[in-house]
């Protein structure tokens, strides 16, 4: 989806005669070539990395070789440390993110449909929104110590406002004619809410949740780097403290892969929840 949008955006205006070339219309034929290019670019990158470290052009103090990183990754996988870090961080993200969803989705809906709630919440929302999650670290440590609940709190505090904004915007954008149609067919307030407003705003809410999930991950990592013994953020920070850059890189790759997997799961869930959007999908 992103790629096709980008394609449309960068396509130059066609002023001359038509060339008759297909413009991204045949993904079927392109797929193998695209795969080849992807593998090629990764291969070239790894090779350059290898060459740069092997030749001594870049000192291992600044960048370990791909081989070192792979060896460290294997060691951390064997010992179970990597998996443990992934699970611990994922657990914190999930708890904080779920809490944010449970609080902010209903709150956003209420604010969207009932203006006094909007008026009451507005000052707080405006003041809290600009605060990055790390600014909450001192207070949360004071209140909650440096245990699990503090990490979850950081994730929650850094995430809920985004969920709120997306929910509020999606609900307010529901086409009023659909609500009229439902009422014209005899729908009660409750039915309008459950049968019209919720499903009509669900795609927007889910899009917001997906974006927030990535934000939740950055929250947990900053919290773990500052005060934690476990988790991917702590793994990276400890690697840095011991001058073990291979571990830092393994941790970074670990984050990327974990977030990619989480995105994939979210995508699956979205397909399940939004069957009526199937015509938009390839």
């Amino acid at each position: 989806m992103a790629s096709s949008a980008a394609h449309g955006a960068v396509a130059p205006p066609r002023t001359g005669r038509p060339t008759g070339r297909p413009t991204g219309r045949r993904p079927g034929r392109r797929a193998p070539l695209a795969l080849l290019l992807k593998c090629g670019s990764v291969g070239v990158f790894l090779l350059a990395w290898y060459a740069a470290t092997r030749s001594g052009w870049i000192s291992p103090v600044f960048l370990p070789s791909p081989g070192d990183v792979l060896a460290q990754a294997t060691a951390l996988l064997r010992s179970g440390d990597l998996l443990n870090a992934v699970l611990v961080s994922s657990g914190r993200v999930f708890a904080g993110f779920a809490l944010a969803g449970l609080v902010a989705v209903p709150l956003g809906i209420v604010m969207a449909v009932w203006w006094p709630a909007r008026a009451i919440m507005d000052p707080f929302v405006s003041l809290l929104r600009p605060l990055p999650s790390i600014t909450w670290i001192p207070l949360t440590i004071l209140w909650l110590g440096i245990g699990e609940s503090q990490k979850v709190a950081i994730v929650f505090l850094g995430s809920w406002i985004y969920v709120l904004f997306y929910t509020l915007a999606s609900v307010r954008r529901v086409d009023p004619i659909l609500i009229r149609a439902a009422r014209n067919l005899g729908a009660s307030d409750f039915a309008v809410m459950t049968q019209v407003i919720l499903p009509a705003s669900l795609p927007g809410i889910i899009a917001g949740l997906k974006i927030t999930l990535a934000i939740s991950w950055s929250c947990v990592l900053s919290a773990e780097m500052i005060a934690a013994q476990t988790g991917l953020g702590a793994l990276i920070w400890q690697g840095k403290d011991w001058g073990d850059l291979a571990t830092v890189l393994v941790g970074m790759v670990g984050i990327s892969i974990t977030v990619l997997v989480a995105d994939g799961l979210a995508e699956r869930l979205e397909r399940l929840l939004l069957p009526w959007e199937r015509h938009r999908r390839p």
Partner: protein
């Protein structure tokens, strides 16, 4: 007996931002008798949808009153079922889910809902598409879903806003026949918006011609073509004579846009 629907000296002004207020309907009075089929005929933008929206209770008149059985219409009125010009289908529900919606709101049991929905889906020739979503249908098919949705809900009055505009000539004819059959057998009251003189002549008991903005009643013409009626009535001499009569009234108000299929416009 009082008319089932009445508009008494109704005016409607729209205020958008800081623009000059727009007078969309001016001093319009209209009465629709129970069981009557009235067509509202007028050029694009002359205020037809605005009138219909007031009868449905979606908007209130700026001046005057609209009445349903002698009672002012103050809120959205489920007894006046609307076929929207822009369809207003629930895009997250299948064809089946859309057609069943009104019955579900009335608390009709599932099996009975299925049965009645199936009947009306068949009636609008959408058998086999029950499990499709609106976005997977053509414009004309979507329009037929809105028709089935309102017929299944079975309101007392049908307010139909150009319900056949997106259909091809043949499908439209079939739908007109079905509507005539339903209306004549059920005795339902219908207020039907169209910009097609032929459609008005085939369907209506009375044709209300509206003048261009601000919308006003320019003429009310009784349609004496015999009932039960069939689309073949277009071949009669009486039809041709009546058509000339309507033309005289419509004249420069409506261009001969008869056969132009139109996509849904402003919602």
């Amino acid at each position: 007996m009082p008319p089932i629907l009445a508009a008494e000296h109704v005016s409607k002004t729209f205020q958008v931002g800081r623009d000059e207020p727009l007078l969309a309907v001016r001093n319009l009075s209209l009465q629709v008798e129970e069981g009557e089929f009235v067509c509202l005929l007028g050029a694009s933008g002359c205020g037809k949808t605005t009138v219909l929206n007031m009868f449905a209770g979606f908007t209130q008149p700026t001046q005057g009153r609209v009445l349903l059985r002698d009672r002012p219409i103050t809120g959205i009125e489920p007894r006046c079922g609307v076929v929207f010009q822009s369809y207003a289908l629930f895009h997250w529900k299948t064809v089946q889910g859309n057609v069943e919606f009104g019955l579900r709101m009335q608390g009709v049991a599932r099996a009975e809902r299925r049965r009645r929905a199936a009947h009306f889906i068949e009636l609008v020739k959408l058998g086999g598409f029950e499990r499709r979503y609106p976005a997977e249908l053509s414009g004309g098919m979507q329009q037929r879903v809105t028709l089935a949705r309102i017929l299944a809900a079975d309101p007392e009055v049908l307010l139909m806003d150009e319900p056949f505009a997106a259909l091809d000539a043949m499908t439209r004819q079939v739908m007109q026949e079905e509507l005539l059959r339903i209306q004549e057998s059920s005795g339902k009251t219908v207020l039907f918006i169209t910009h097609s003189i032929d459609e008005a002549l085939i369907l209506a008991d009375r044709i209300v011609v509206m003048s261009a903005l601000p919308g006003q009643v320019k003429a009310i013409l009784p349609n004496r073509l015999p009932r039960p009626r069939h689309v073949s009535v277009q071949l009669s001499a009486e039809y041709a004579r009546l058509k000339a009569e309507v033309w005289k009234e419509v004249g420069f108000e409506v261009r001969p846009a008869d056969a132009l299929p139109r996509s849904p416009d402003r919602r």
